[in-house]
């Protein structure tokens, strides 16, 4: 082939403008941080926040209701991607605000790297959200996971953090292996790795069903590892517990959005023809997660560990929405079901960011405040933050008129509409069991004597943000309709 034959058409860069900008800025911030003398890393911090705000603007400006593919169909930009990315930027922004003081205290040499790695993790999540190719799903996932492994280990003096990082790394590598194996099987059966291409080949019915199903089993196992649902959940409690709380906050919030996106892309966009097969697997994963997550959370004395089990049960609940999309080839309720799952994830991310943020707010040098007992009598120390924590806990438990209640309600509606009555009943029973340990936190805060009486000395801006986060849970609980219809609209334009 001569040079003249090698024509190269520049791909349309517009849909990926936010990714490109974020990458350039992340590299720039990395360099600026090296030359920054300020021990408080103000410059790095401000630049990171500005970058995320610019990304909000870019994604908003380049958003269109059409589905656009670029980079030889490896990248897709649709409304679902735009919506999830906007939420992602905001979540990461809030996460960094909460974490800054904590990281400066615990890992003063690596705080700059913490910000840079968070940006790279964000890039990984954006890649996952916009992936239309199994290779880009995998690369996005690895970019996210590698940054997270490193962040868990940043506090190297802590034995717990090192152990958590090792466990996370080894199990994460195993999960990636399973995922890749599944992808290669699907490639073998369909001859393409492009997600829309896989869907076309499957619709034509030319693929080898046996190989495909085998690939699907590995794919679902890999996804389940990353989502952290039973029986692939063993890493979650140890990592949540062992990681520095700032990193737990990051792991426990934003990646759930990206995980939801890859489930939608791979299972719903790509493998919808095999829905009967993957729905059965997801139902088992979902019921087991709700059971084990909620029951094991009761026995915990460490709040981070308790929230880890709660995350497992929430992800199980979210899967119910994905299971009930297409039942027996009937796609009438698909939009409702998928948007209920999306709404569930979004509200979970908001609530979870607030809860871990509260642990960070109460932590100070040499004191982690991650035991349940540390929340005893919080009402006497600060009635306002006790009230906010109560709202967050009520929302997690699904007490009516907080946003978590509407999230659970909409998923349950989808489950009932799909005709899985027993599944809905099981979900309600496990949620009731789960309500116990959330309400226990409220009981500790209001009816027990404080063991720790030092005043809360967090900076004003963090207190303000924390209040806004708590109020968001309450306000969204009163007006859930706006967020719900945003989810439904973005999915309607993307499926």
């Amino acid at each position: 082939m001569t040079l003249a034959e090698m024509s190269f058409v520049l791909p349309d860069l517009r849909p990926a403008a936010a990714e490109i900008f974020l990458l350039v800025m992340a590299c720039a911030i990395l360099l600026i941080d090296v030359f920054s003398k300020n021990p408080k890393r103000t410059m790095t911090f401000v630049l990171t926040q500005v970058t995320l705000l610019c990304c909000v603007f870019i994604t908003f400006a380049t958003s269109s209701a059409e589905i656009t593919y670029t980079f030889s169909n490896m990248f897709v930009d649709d409304l679902m991607a735009d919506f999830l990315k906007l939420l992602l930027y905001l979540t990461v922004l809030v996460v960094m605000f909460y974490s800054r003081a904590y990281m400066l205290e615990r890992a003063p040499h690596a705080t700059g790297e913490f910000f840079a790695l968070t940006l790279f993790a964000t890039l990984g999540m954006m890649v996952m959200i916009s992936a239309n190719h199994f290779v880009t799903v995998y690369l996005g996932l690895e970019l996210l996971s590698l940054s997270l492994y490193a962040m868990v280990a940043l506090n190297r003096d802590s034995v717990q953090a090192t152990e958590a990082a090792m466990k996370y790394f080894v199990l994460g590598a195993l999960a990636s292996g399973l995922l890749l194996y599944g992808m290669s099987m699907i490639y073998g059966a369909t001859g393409t790795l492009e997600i829309t291409g896989v869907a076309e080949r499957l619709a034509m019915g030319v693929a080898n069903k046996t190989v495909l199903t085998l690939g699907l089993v590995f794919l679902v196992a890999g996804i389940a590892f990353k989502l952290g649902v039973v029986p692939f959940h063993m890493w979650i409690p140890d990592v949540y517990h062992g990681a520095p709380t700032a990193v737990t906050l990051l792991i426990g919030s934003a990646p759930k959005l990206a995980a939801f996106a890859i489930v939608m892309r791979m299972l719903v966009n790509g493998l919808i023809v095999l829905a009967v097969d993957w729905q059965q697997m997801l139902i088992i994963l979902s019921v087991l997660s709700m059971a084990i997550g909620n029951l094991a959370a009761i026995a915990q004395t460490n709040l981070k560990r308790m929230l880890a089990y709660s995350a497992i049960s929430h992800m199980g609940f979210m899967l119910l929405g994905i299971v009930t999309g297409v039942v027996g080839g009937d796609a009438r309720y698909a939009l409702n079901a998928y948007s209920s799952a999306m709404f569930y994830v979004v509200t979970y991310v908001i609530t979870s960011a607030g809860t871990f943020g509260m642990i960070l707010l109460l932590a100070r040098s040499g004191f982690e405040s991650d035991q349940l007992d540390d929340f005893k009598g919080l009402n006497k120390r600060s009635p306002w933050f006790a009230a906010i924590m109560m709202m967050l806990m009520f929302s997690m438990a699904g007490v009516p008129f907080f946003v978590g209640f509407f999230a659970k309600l909409s998923v349950l509606q989808a489950v009932v509409a799909a005709g899985y009555m027993w599944l809905a009943i099981a979900a309600v029973i496990f949620s009731l069991i789960g309500a116990y340990y959330y309400l226990r936190v409220v009981k500790l805060m209001y009816f027990d004597e404080p063991t720790d009486t030092s005043p809360i000395d967090a900076p004003f801006d963090i207190k303000l943000l924390m209040s806004a986060n708590g109020l968001a849970v309450a306000v969204l609980g009163i007006f859930p309709q706006a967020l719900m219809s945003l989810c439904a609209y973005s999915l309607l334009r993307s499926l």
Partner: protein, 200 residues
């Protein structure tokens, strides 16, 4: 049997044997050496499929660089084998049963139609085309997005490795001559005012 097929089975047999030895060898150095053998055989299989670029890069990159590094690490670390192998025999029966069941299940699923359906012709290389050139062209055109992402992942690996191991500037015993010259007596000696003690 064609000559090519015979070579394929020969290479595959070595590959399977070497891979097994990687996980069964008692000595980690032997395991690493077996891994090198496995890479060599895999490179041979690739060469048979006319993917000469992949074959050569596998040998250059993995055998030449990665495995040598691996061997260094294995030889440097003083690994206590007895501790690692503790409990191996007690876990073996359960592990073997689980493994066998899984193999049997997979076999039962696959045996029915695996062999017949998947047999497709290997893509034939166009005469005169060089697959090194084609790979290069594709990586920088159609696959530029994943290629760039892979480079970002490598960057993150570098940043992560430094962030985890770096612990601030080292305190060396270096002294600055200029500072030594500028030093004044009051920098070195501090005169403390002590109240005079009374003699009883």
């Amino acid at each position: 049997m064609e000559f090519k097929t015979a070579v394929f089975y020969f290479l595959s047999a070595i590959l399977v044997f070497a891979s097994l030895r990687v996980i069964t060898a008692r000595n980690p150095v032997h395991a690493a050496l077996n891994l090198i053998l496995a890479f060599f055989s895999a490179a041979g299989v690739w060469a048979l499929l006319q993917a000469e670029f992949l074959a050569i890069s596998l040998i250059l990159v993995y055998v030449g660089a990665v495995m040598v590094l691996f061997l260094f690490v294995v030889m440097m670390l003083d690994i206590n084998l007895d501790r690692i192998r503790e409990g191996f025999w007690s876990y073996l029966p359960l592990g073997a049963i689980v493994g066998l069941v899984m193999v049997a299940e997979l076999g039962a699923v696959m045996a029915a139609n695996y062999l017949g359906v998947l047999e497709t012709d290997a893509p034939q290389a166009v005469a005169g085309a060089s697959n090194t050139k084609d790979l290069g062209r594709l990586i920088y055109t159609d696959f530029v997005y994943p290629f760039e992402l892979a480079s970002v992942i490598l960057l993150v690996a570098i940043v992560a490795a430094i962030a985890i191991t770096y612990r601030g500037p080292k305190k060396t015993k270096y002294t600055d001559p200029a500072e030594q010259v500028r030093v004044r007596a009051k920098d070195r000696i501090r005169v403390l005012q002590m109240p005079a003690e009374k003699q009883d």
